[in-house]
């Protein structure tokens, strides 16, 4: 008797739906063992996560606040994924976007709220876009691997921000803390319901809708899909793939840059280091889990928001380290990737091979 792997001719909708659900369940079970090992009842812990994250107006608002940068960065990364371009640099693009928005807020001299908002948005968009565009140009021109370039440029971006907040942009009144001055009220997003929920969340939703339409309805979106599915066929059909690589990375970085804008204008009101605790990396997971669709990114980001907020409560209630939250995310990703395999293949038990 023997177990063999066989390719499925078609994958049914049921399998495609069940596989991710089952894999999340398995991930929860595995994480449960970790919790047990730490002496915590997993069911109680999961209940706590849910209550903290979605059990109250405050919990929900916090979840949405956490989800905002994830949606934006996730949209950026998933756009590039659609073309088989791996943008690992959303983290750096968030910082550079925040940098652009901060410059406008602090040094442009603009005072009107809407003018400021639009200028800050554009600055973040262009800064993030150009930052990622460097990798796009290198990839298009000399076929330099964009994974390495975008990843490396994260460090450059983060250190650049450190330089600014420790040096030229430091607020003289900050008692030597590495912070810029606070933004004026006109350069801040509106808040809602007396919570930290800010306009950035709705901006993220709007961009998700925009990207959905862009991908599914426009000629450019069509080209991106064809190139992503088969670059050779795209060239054969006369599409300019190099050109597309640059612009897709530009747009991908630009949207991640908007996440930086949303963070400084909606939450921090200043630039400082650590404005993104790895949102850009979580965005990679999100884009993958979302199967590269814009709507999927929103859903997965909300789930991640729940995990982050709930994870915070685990830290506070049971003194679990933040590493546990990351381990949990890792488990979910691991099993979801595994489920991809079962969507395309099935295992088959074969009894006895005849040899004569």
């Amino acid at each position: 008797m023997k177990l063999v792997i066989e390719r499925r001719d078609t994958s049914s909708a049921l399998v495609r739906f069940l596989a991710p659900v089952a894999s999340i369940a398995v991930a929860l079970a595995f994480a449960g063992f970790l919790l047990l090992a730490a002496g915590i009842n997993p069911l109680e812990a999961y209940r706590e996560i849910l209550i903290e994250a979605v059990g109250s107006i405050y919990g929900i608002s916090e979840t949405l606040v956490k989800a905002t940068p994830l949606i934006l960065a996730g949209l950026g990364v998933s756009l590039a994924f659609r073309m088989q371009i791996w943008n690992i640099g959303a983290e750096g693009q968030i910082y550079i976007g925040a940098m652009g928005a901060t410059w406008v807020a602090l040094f442009s001299g603009l005072e009107n709220h809407w003018v400021l908002m639009i200028t800050m948005f554009s600055a973040a968009f262009i800064c993030g876009g150009l930052w990622a565009g460097i990798a796009g140009f290198l990839r298009a021109r000399w076929n330099v691997n964009e994974v390495i370039v975008t990843l490396m440029m994260n460090y450059i971006a983060i250190l650049l921000i450190n330089f600014l907040v420790y040096g030229p942009w430091r607020d003289p009144q900050s008692f030597n803390f590495p912070l810029t001055a606070q933004f004026a009220d006109a350069a801040r997003f509106a808040n809602f319901f007396d919570t930290r929920l800010h306009s950035g969340f709705f901006l993220a939703l709007a961009l998700a809708l925009f990207l959905y339409l862009f991908m599914e309805r426009t000629v450019w979106g069509y080209q991106i899909k064809v190139i992503g599915s088969n670059a050779q066929a795209a060239r054969y059909a006369g599409m300019r793939t190099g050109y597309a690589v640059f612009w897709v990375l530009f747009l991908s970085g630009a949207i991640a840059g908007v996440a930086g804008f949303s963070e400084v204008a909606g939450l921090q009101y200043r630039l400082q280091h650590g404005i993104s605790p790895g949102y850009g990396y979580t965005a990679i997971i999100i884009a993958w889990l979302a199967r590269r669709s814009a709507i999927g990114v929103v859903i997965v980001s909300l789930l991640m928001g729940i995990l982050l907020v709930g994870g915070d409560s685990l830290q506070m209630l049971w003194q679990l380290p933040i590493a546990f939250v990351y381990a949990f995310q890792g488990l979910i990703l691991f099993f979801l990737l595994g489920s991809d395999f079962f969507i395309q293949y099935r295992l088959k038990l074969i009894r006895g091979i005849r040899y004569g």
């Binding site: 078609t10 309805r217 979106g221 088969n230 066929a233 059909a237 006369g238």
Partner: protein, 505 residues
Amino acid sequence: MPELLQIEHIRKTFPGVVALDDVSFSVAAGEIHTLLGENGAGKSTLMNVLTGLYHPDSGKMRLDGRDVHFTSPRDSLARGIGMVHQHFMLVPAHSAFENILLALDKVPLVFSSGEYRKKIQRLIDTFEIDLDLDTEVWKLSIGAQQWIELIKLLLRNCRLLILDEPTAVLTPQETERLFKVLRLLQQQGKSIVFISHKMREVVEISDRVTVLKKGRSISTLERGNFDREILAGLMIGEDKIPHWQKNLQMSEKIVLDIRNLSVRNDRGLADLDQVCLQLKEGEILGIAGIAGNGQKALAEALTGLKPVTRGKIFAGDVDITHSSARSSYISGIAHIPEDRKSIGIAPDLDVADNLIMKSYQNPLFRRGFFQNRGAIRRNAEDKVSRFAIKTGPDGSPVRYLSGGNIQKVIIARELSEKPRVLVALYPTRGLDIGSAEYIHKIIVEGAGHGMSTILIAEDLDELLKLSDRIAVMFRGRVIGYADPRRTTREEIGLMMSGEKQDQAS
């Protein structure tokens, strides 16, 4: 001679395909045994069975008279069966020496590289191989890379060497050297399974030849009992030629005029050598030839996928010699590519999106920046019903379609802008009879409407059935024409092996 390896009634199926139906042959010690067959005859599958990559559904393998079955290539290698694949398994950034070491079994953690080097050098000297051990593989010629693969197997003391089309990538001089080495190996008592479809080489080197056809071993001949003609006849088979209504009222207008066309490949060798062809309006011109004699280069040059080295291509009066793939499509040359999955379709997109891949810029399918989804859907509905494409549920990716339906999608797309010339490269390869028949029908119907077709196929039946005229290619040249109404398979088969050059068109 004692038989080293015996294969009896091997059968291997994949979902929906019988790759090997019933194959038997044997290899004696010190014998060079050739497997001959057209593409798709099952040679590669058979090799993968011999090296333990595939497990046969049924049948027997005997090594030294004892039943064996190999669980993996590692397993078969351990018993002395090694293979040089068509695509080398080498690490390009490492030196030849390092690559050879990599293949060795049980290299101790700390080893004296001098000792291995001496061993390898001894082999190199014995066989007078030209190879510098310290050069990185990527700098070596294809021929030298093949030596590395061979040395790997010799160091592991393989008794049976399987060479999968080793000469396909070699120059004639390199081939001579290889044959010298093979004869030396033979004298040492090694057995060699040689795979090729170059008739001349097969006749020169083989002790025995087994002919495979459609997954069956149809005949095994001893040296002296075969020559090129006999082998060509066996390989091509002698089924009855089917008939098809030929297009008798062909116009005399020339739509495509190819003059002295030469194309060089990446290695500087001539893929096409001064080819002249004229295509009349409404004509189906079949191109016969054993794979690798320039047919693919011809199609790629015509469709703008490969740059032309010398010569001219005229479509009507327009010189299209140096046009790109896109502009040649616009100028009315459609193309059914050989490898549908690699350039024909975007596998993750649905049928509707694939159907507009070449015309998505057409104002018909867009409204400014936006796509006109309605028009795209209607176009798909129209094509799906007209070409009888069986699609999955709406929006499901084309990669889930069967080969025949994928081919129909490509043909529907290529024919949608009423091309004047269709270049079809192996359009029915791998398709079931029904789909193949349907594609034949479309080509013949197109001819009725004045579309001219260059049909490149390996199946002679297909060529005889459809073509108004058959050109035979050999080593990058058109060496003759055949009239499908009068010729025989044997005649064409001979021309394919470069034998006969006459017969008027």
